[in-house]
Symmetry: C2
Subunit: 246 residues, 2 copies
């Protein structure tokens, strides 16, 4: 038995999220089905760094699983990519120690959130960016607000209300904005993220960029520890899980 770690990418458009749910097409289900077939029917369970919601994308999700197959790593990856649907790709694969755990060993993550400014949304970007209907936000205000978020805080204000996690203290290492053509990218790194945290931060900073809130208001939101004081949860299809650190 050996443990494999894989970096995977998926287009979240046609998935009901990462995690198996009865009757739904999920990323976990598709990968486990192929692996189980490769193991001649013996069920194989995979563990990911964390879930992603329906329509959320990944360019660097990480999974691990244990396998009895002894084929070389490169062949393993090729076999998986041949059998997986085209909206999931295995980008890298390596053998890891048996104490490596895709979820519990995580030391940090990087997410990207993309807005598209075109007045008329491109049909080609509709599943991959959040459209702004031509609105270009004030990015300097968004940067100013972001400074309040960076650091160690209790992020209860940026956590979906229906979560069961007790400890909501996390550290955001960096939160930056980049312009790429007609797109605004928000890139956020931290030691961990609460449920919907990146999307609520994106939605709140968007309200700052469009001058519905002041940058200083974000400091008050964090101090309130109350989800209701923060902005709307930004739509899922602008979000990418980009990198998981171990």
């Amino acid at each position: 038995m050996r443990r494999l770690k894989m970096i995977i990418s998926y287009d979240g458009t046609s998935f009901s999220g990462y995690q198996v749910q009865p009757g739904e097409r999920t990323v976990q289900l598709e990968i486990e089905q192929v692996l189980t077939k490769m193991h001649k029917g013996t069920p194989v369970k995979i563990i990911a760094s964390g879930r992603t919601d329906a329509r959320v994308h990944a360019t660097g999700q990480v999974i691990h699983f244990d396998t009895t197959l002894t084929i070389p790593i490169d062949s393993y990856m090729k076999a998986l990519n041949v059998q997986l649907p085209r909206d999931i790709r295995v980008l890298a694969c390596e053998e890891v120690a048996s104490d490596f755990h895709a979820r519990y060993s995580v030391s940090g993550k990087r997410y990207r959130y993309i807005w598209h400014f075109a007045a008329i949304q491109s049909p080609f970007r509709r599943h991959y960016t959040t459209e702004t209907n031509g609105i270009v936000p004030n990015i300097e205000l968004m940067r100013e607000a972001a400074a309040y978020i960076v650091g160690e805080h209790d992020f209860s204000c940026f956590c979906a209300a229906n979560t069961s996690v007790q400890d909501k203290v996390r550290t955001v290492h960096s939160l930056t904005f980049e312009i790429h053509g007609e797109e605004l990218h928000m890139v956020i790194e931290g030691n961990g993220f609460l449920y919907n945290m990146v999307r609520i931060i994106a939605g709140t900073l968007w309200e700052v960029g469009t001058e519905k809130r002041t940058p200083q208001n974000v400091q008050k939101i964090i101090e309130s520890m109350d989800r209701k004081t923060a902005g709307k949860t930004a739509p899922p299809h602008g979000l990418y899980l980009e990198k998981v650190y171990y």
Copy 2:
């Protein structure tokens, strides 16, 4: 009654091509359904610059139609975009003279064909580029071969065998290659294109770039006036109708 000209863009992925076919989802059908609804049930027929095949994209297709509605042009365009499915967008709209014809008035067209070099195809580009499984062609050879195609020729060799067009003489004004990151773009302009002509040229020049044919062989293909001497028809999802000239 006034005649409107519209520039439209569509993601060809979920269409059985541009033209109405019984029982199929097509671009023409979707637009005509919305226009007919806007005209309170009176059928509206649209005319395009030409058809595009299933899975072929357009960033600058042109259509025209006649309308009895007197609403301002901007409102017309907005009303259409609100009601159209998100994989079709109207990018521009103007009133034209009654003798303008989206098909018969065409003086030229520009197409783009995109290959993606990544060894492992991105899930996000799978519908929008033709994957090469990591193969990077010799672009200088492709440029050398392209020089034989530019100009006025009988292009019978680059025309799908099942076409009914008699006169197969066309002029290719330019045929260039551009590298964009991991992608190769072929951009071709001409006064008109035969059925499948761009995809057969793309497939043939790909064979030159991967050294299955010499550039000089392309001259022989043109002289043969025989489809069987040319290369394979390149897949539809790498192709974009980019601009129509009038």
